[in-house]
Each structure stands twice: as structure tokens, then as C-alpha cells.
């Protein structure tokens, strides 16, 4: 049986969260009673999900995963929580005597300290392992036969800014290492661009923020599709937050 046509538009709005609360409540009540409309509503929520998935945007900043993992490692592991609960209950009869209770508390405190120390060490080991894994992965990719190596140089004379780019088409990883970049005024930064071979607009590939020595490096992932043909790379000076398109002439370019 088809869903109720009189609800068609409200179902679409409800799936997108675009109904005011009172109307949403009315539609919700109807959905509880009508399997056909419920089925159409679920289809519409799936349609909305594909809409969300279609959003294009830049890669998240490099530090985001590190920040996330730091928070994860800082949290007590779920398995630890479960173990401590079990231990507490299993020790409950022991607390029936004051002497053993005191003894148990002292032991518990010592155990907690050891557990905290253990958690910190585990987090450190896991973080180190992750860094090692990523470094090994990047090095292996850099030396892979499908890696595209490019060198970008400036027309300026000494000191000669230089930007080396390695793009691994298969994995979509882009590794950039720049040297001798002149310091920029406040609120300005270097932005890397990928110039597609099909003549479409330059694609922003990330911000280069050199240190005091003028060195900058970054690695980004999947900034363009695997099939995108790269004509060249370029670097411009943009606002510190980055730009969606170049607003100044390239200070470096190459392929």
C-alpha cells in the first residue's frame, strides 16, 4: 500500500528536520500508526544521508587526529572500568571486618596508582606505535614507483625559496616540504594550490606556515580525486585562514 499522499511534503520536511516542533510532533504521531508512511520516511532519511555525504570540503587539519587520540588515550579504557567493578563486588565480603577493610583500601589505592601509571604508559606506547606506523607508511609510499616528484622554485634570488612536493596518486597522499620561505606579515600565510589539467579552478591543498627558519612541511590525504590530472602546483600568499581561490599571483609554481 502506498503512503498517505497528504503527508508527502511533511514527511520530506520531517526527514530533513525542517518542521517546527508542533508539526513534527503531529507527523511523529502519524508515523507511529502508519507503517507505509514510516517506510517512506525512512527512505527520505536515507536520501538526506546521501545529501550529507555529498558535501565537499578540505581535509581536516593534521592536528585533529592527534588531538582526538590524545583525548582517547587520556580516558580510562572501558575494559578497565569493567574489571574494577568486578573487583569491587568480589571484595565486598572482605569489608565486613574493619581490619580487612583498611587493608583493602590501602591495596586499592596502590592498585589505582599502578593502573594510572600503566594507562599512561600504554597510551605512550600506542601513540609511538601509531607515529612509527605512519612514518613507515609515508616512507614506503615516497619510494613507490607511482609517486610523482615535483620541485617548485621561486624566481627570487637569495635566499632561494624551495618547495618539494611528492604526490602519491594511488593513496592520494600529498607530502610537501618547503625551505627558505620568507617571513610574511601578520595574518598572512602561504597556501598551496593544485592546478588541474582539465582547466578547472585551482584546488586549495593546504596552508604552509613556516617556522623561524623559513621551513614548513605537511602531509595531506585525499585532497583531490584519484582520477584528477595534475597540471602544476603553485603557492600564493593568502589570508591566514586560507582562501577558496587564489587572490594573488603565485610566488612559486612548478610541475
Amino acid at each position: 500500500m502506498a503512503f498517505h499522499e497528504q503527508f508527502a511534503e511533511d514527511l520530506a520536511l520531517h526527514a530533513l528536520g525542517a518542521l517546527p516542533p508542533d508539526e513534527a510532533a503531529n507527523v511523529g504521531k502519524h508515523l507511529e500508526q502508519c507503517p507505509e508512511c514510516r517506510q517512506e520516511y525512512l527512505r527520505l532519511t536515507a536520501d538526506a544521508a546521501t545529501l550529507a555525504l555529498s558535501v565537499e570540503g578540505p581535509a581536516p587539519p593534521e592536528h585533529l587526529q592527534n588531538d582526538l587520540m590524545r583525548r582517547v588515550y587520556a580516558e580510562p579504557r572501558m575494559t578497565n572500568i569493567l574489571q574494577s567493578r568486578v573487583r569491587w563486588w568480589s571484595l565486598a565480603p572482605v569489608f565486613s571486618t574493619a581490619l580487612l577493610a583498611l587493608f583493602a583500601i590501602l591495596l586499592w589505592q596502590e592498585n589505582a596508582d599502578l593502573r594510572l601509571e600503566n594507562t599512561e604508559q600504554t597510551a605512550e606506547i600506542a601513540q609511538t606505535r601509531e607515529l612509527l606506523h605512519r612514518a613507515t607508511h609515508v616512507l614506503a609510499e615516497i619510494s613507490s614507483p607511482d609517486a610523482i616528484h615535483a620541485t617548485l622554485v621561486s624566481a627570487n634570488q637569495k635566499p632561494q625559496p624551495q618547495c618539494r612536493i611528492i604526490y602519491m596518486r594511488r593513496s592520494g597522499t600529498l607530502v610537501i616540504a618547503a625551505n627558505h620561505l620568507p617571513a610574511l606579515p601578520d595574518k598572512k600565510a602561504y597556501e598551496l594550490w593544485i592546478i588541474p589539467g582539465d582547466g578547472s579552478s585551482p584546488i586549495p591543498a593546504g596552508m604552509l606556515r613556516p617556522n623561524a627558519n623559513g621551513d614548513a612541511s605537511m602531509a595531506i590525504h585525499r585532497v583531490i580525486g584519484e582520477r584528477t590530472i595534475i597540471k602544476a602546483f603553485a603557492v600564493t600568499v593568502e589570508a591566514d585562514a586560507g582562501s577558496d581561490w587564489p587572490t594573488s599571483k603565485p610566488i612559486m609554481s612548478g610541475q
Partner: protein, 182 residues
């Protein structure tokens, strides 16, 4: 090759066992989608980073919230991110708990090639929609506005806005079947 390595379901099982590496793998796989959705809604990178971290921390703390029997993890993450971002945008308390998000999506959306084909199709469809339909759809979905608010902002009748939004979302529906037939 699509999604080399463990499947999403396998990674979620490892999450339930407290495996931090599984979360790192899922972030590498879907961090970009989550960040892009948050950035699209909020338009500000710091807020988008905060939401992205919140979403993955929720997944870490309560991996059981995602039911792999219902389909795609990528779609679930995108929808949950959109909900949380809209709440943040409108400075309101969360309108629905992540536990309440029910989504029955095509599981093939977790295959990179299939998902890319669908996304490309959706973008093409959106680019060919009449501007007023696309605007109404985006105001509802990405700006979190009700049809009443959209009607006020665009000075259009309520019925017109409703029709535009439904027509637009039904057009998007075609992307999944067309990509599947490729």
C-alpha cells in the same frame, strides 16, 4: 582496491573491545566526511574541529550506538554530524540523542568507489536543480531552518517552499539507484 584493510564492522567490533587503533583507522577513513559536513553547516573551522572530535569521541565511548545491520557507517556519521552541527549553529540543546538516530542506508555507501559515484551523482543532480529548489533544500538541511523560516526569508508561500523541498530531495533519491546501475 576499495577500503583496503578491515571492514567498518570489524573496526566497530574492535572499538567495542577498547582498541584505540580501530578509532584511528575510522578517523582516517571518515574524518574528512565528518569534518566537511561540520564545516559546511558551521562555516568555521574551529567549530567544525570541535564537532568532529565530539562525534568520534561519542563513537569511541558508545560504539554500540551504530548498528551495522542498518547499513552504512559513513552515512550514519554524516547524519549525526549534521544534527550536532545544526544544534551548535542554532545554539540550542541537542534536539535528538545520537541513540535516536535511525538510519537504514544502502551498505554499499561504505565502499569507496560506490560512495564516490553516488556523491558525484548527487552533486550533478544538485547542480542541475532549479536554483530556488536547491536553495530551499540547502536552507532546510544545512542551515537547519524550518519551512516557515525559509518562507519568511525568501518571501515565498509556505506551500511553495514545501513543494520545492520535497521535489529536490526526491531528485537526490535518484542518485543512489543510478550509481547502483553503473
Amino acid at each position: 582496491m576499495d577500503n583496503p584493510g578491515p571492514s567498518d564492522s570489524q573496526l566497530v567490533i574492535r572499538l567495542k573491545q577498547g582498541d584505540e587503533d580501530a578509532l584511528a583507522s575510522l578517523f582516517q577513513r571518515y574524518g574528512r566526511i565528518v569534518y566537511a559536513v561540520a564545516l559546511r553547516v558551521l562555516g568555521e573551522s574551529t567549530a567544525a574541529e570541535d564537532i568532529s572530535q565530539e562525534i568520534f569521541m561519542q563513537l569511541w565511548r558508545k560504539p554500540q550506538l551504530f548498528d551495522s545491520q542498518r547499513g552504512s557507517l559513513s552515512a550514519w556519521l554524516a547524519v549525526v554530524t549534521r544534527h550536532r552541527s545544526i544544534d551548535q549553529l542554532r545554539k540550542r540543546r541537542p534536539q535528538c540523542d545520537i541513540e535516536d538516530v535511525q538510519l537504514f542506508c544502502d551498505a554499499r555507501l561504505d565502499e569507496h568507489v560506490f560512495r564516490s559515484a553516488v556523491m558525484e551523482k548527487v552533486r550533478t543532480i544538485l547542480s542541475h536543480l532549479p536554483q530556488e529548489q536547491r536553495t530551499a533544500l540547502e536552507m532546510a538541511f544545512f542551515d537547519g531552518l524550518t519551512h516557515v523560516e525559509i518562507a519568511e526569508k525568501t518571501s515565498q508561500p509556505l506551500g511553495t517552499i514545501k513543494t520545492r523541498i520535497r521535489t529536490a530531495i526526491l531528485a537526490v533519491r535518484g542518485a543512489l539507484s543510478e550509481a547502483g546501475n553503473k
